[in-house]
Point group: C2
Chain length 392, copies 2
């Protein structure tokens, strides 16, 4: 196990009818003038924004608002948010929505107290200061409600880049599983795929003897395999929604990723897909991640056997371990298909002829990208090719 | 799943050579005058206290010290600590030791800013205020480094009582697995038993459909079953020590216990044992917990089957589920024996003739105590009797 620091100070406020507590918690964590940040009209139409405003009113907290966050949230709205916050004297950002809204809120939180362009922090500069952020989560997926991470897309060139800092960890996150019950099945499945991907990015490691984090990763994956089909079949299954929602947080606070080298190449490869085609991040991951697994499995066949047996219930083939490894990957892809996810470029709406452009945008040049298995431009091309043609 | 709040703001500083960072972290969390609180001389002799002092000196933080915390920490030393802190103007308590030292530190932290007797908070009064506490952990066991709990023994009558508050969650906890390598095998095994017990107290619940927390509980248990025999066989196995140490924290921050009713009757029953005989808490749990399981297993045979198959690798007996349940309990007790734990009163140094006194001290009267299965005085007597005579 490697040395690590783990710090997850977010207060999670989980369960039925919790959004009415937003005002209380904003006050508890020192907010006096709030930006309510949200996406499309659904948070307004459903009455959620109204409920949050009422709660802020009752707590005596002032607010202004900015909607319009899109999936793969854009820098353009972030600039607008920064200007608004400065003009209104906002000291606290409350994101009401899913990962995109929360990531956009974190970017605004970075930008308000920063003299230069907030994009500096998405180009490698460490975050020095940020307004406090909190969330009312409406989609179980990104884990942004418990993480210090944020990913933003620069509209000019559709460049998708991320940043991270403990300063961006939300002060509190209100998590009402009922709010996710209105999500269409496709978006629910995209979220589930993202949650599983967050675990796999940590699971495939070259660090040995990390049983506790291995087992915690497997706990989240096993939960997702049990609960996801239940919400696809019955969107109103509160218990399954609740299990998925908490699993999504556990998957990304990093409690199951500490002390070990992590990968994240699948996320990198996917970012180019959703950047170019504006597809859902989870859908892109469903296409990329099993392809990445197929390409890298020989790097450590036994680790894939562990996944296959412990997570996907395969019987170990002791005469042919590689067969077990491949069976595990096959079962993962079949699971994704079963919950309605695309598994190749055609189903995703991507084009094989764009692969050179995707590789170019990945920006690896003659270098390699680290992680479980180091990849160069040739490797990345091959993974995109597997993803293009995959079938069950 | 039930509604819950989860808040674990402790910064965990984990790995090799981290104690030298104590000064930096005390300063980061606002301490200017520290009480270094510790147990016997081993923390001094090993050079750990010296290392911590040097680190505080280098950070320009003043300190005073109070050693002498015993296992099952006493109120008498807490009073001494409160007086010392008030006299010296201490604003930060740094516990260097295991669960007993940390629990004592938390009690002092409660007592310093409180006008009355700190014992009030161990008699049901909520904690209103507390000095900040931090830890340098030397034993993987109690989970007190990440929890808001504290248990103190009142010397007059050897009454063992607990309190809990988010205010008692440590600001930071330095966790060096190497510090646990000098522990005798018996104490190591006591710690491992305590860790497993913290999980089982949460695992046995009447709340249904809590797959994520079930799986997280099982993750910790599976890790303990793999790693504990390795450190008993080889005390210097850093990797096994590290896995156990992080498992001990995960077991008790409550991340695997949220949203579900919990039990804690085994801890209650054990507190009377270690109160009366001053035996190690983990050893008492090794005797009590399997006995409790045997007594209550009929309350939910399928939950015990889940434990038996998922945690102890039993094959499910579909014709006779109860046989599987009992086999799981048997394997747990055999595991405890294999790591050197006592499994009955004789091995623990307890006496069957004291059972009426133990039940009396438990103080249940004509009432019942809640949890997985409600217990009355008769039930408790029967559990102690099973514990008295248990064998493999």
């Amino acid at each position: 196990m490697e040395n690590f620091n783990f710090y997850s100070p977010t207060e999670f406020v989980f369960g039925k009818d919790r959004a009415v507590e937003a005002g209380h918690f904003v006050k508890k964590y020192g907010g006096s003038k709030v930006l309510i940040h949200y996406g499309g009209g659904s948070a307004v139409k459903s009455g959620l924004i109204g409920k949050v405003k009422k709660s802020l009113d009752e707590a005596g907290v002032k607010y202004c608002e900015l909607g319009g966050v899109q999936p793969n949230p854009r820098d353009t709205l972030v600039y607008k948010g920064i200007d608004l916050c400065r003009a209104e004297g906002v000291d606290f950002i409350l994101a009401v929505g899913g990962g995109s809204v929360i990531d956009s809120a974190k970017a605004i939180a970075i930008g308000v107290p920063y003299d230069g362009d907030f994009w500096d922090m998405y180009s490698g500069k460490p975050v020095g200061k940020a307004l406090p952020v909190a969330t009312v989560l409406t989609i179980a997926a990104a884990g942004s409600e418990g993480s210090g991470d944020s990913v933003i897309t620069k509209e000019d060139g559709m460049l998708k880049r991320g940043t991270g800092s403990d300063l961006l960890r939300p002060k509190f996150s209100i998590m009402e599983p009922t709010l996710t019950q209105t999500l269409p099945a496709y978006q629910t499945a995209c979220g589930a795929t993202d949650i599983m991907a967050h675990v796999f990015e940590r699971y495939f490691t070259n660090t040995t003897e990390v049983e506790i984090t291995d087992r915690l990763c497997e706990a989240v994956l096993l939960t997702m395999i049990k609960e996801t089909p239940r919400v696809i079949a019955d969107p109103d299954n509160y218990e399954a929604r609740a299990n998925i929602m908490w699993a999504g947080t556990v998957a990304h606070t990093n409690i199951c990723g500490v002390g070990r080298q992590q990968d994240w190449n699948s996320h990198g490869l996917e970012h180019e897909l959703s950047g170019l085609y504006d597809v859902a991040h989870g859908a892109g991951l469903a296409v990329i991640m099993p392809a990445w697994m197929e390409y890298v499995h020989k790097h450590n066949v036994m680790r894939f056997c562990q996944m296959a047996t412990r997570v996907f219930g395969c019987q170990m083939n002791f005469e042919d371990p590689e067969a077990t490894a491949l069976e595990g990957i096959h079962r993962f892809r079949a699971f994704l298909k079963s919950i309605g996810m695309p598994i190749n470029f055609t189903e995703l709406g991507a084009r094989e002829e764009d692969i050179p452009a995707l590789v170019e945008k990945f920006g690896i040049g003659d270098g390699r990208t680290g992680g479980f298995m180091q990849l160069d431009a040739h490797d990345i091309t091959e993974i995109y090719k597997i993803a293009a043609h995959a079938s069950l």
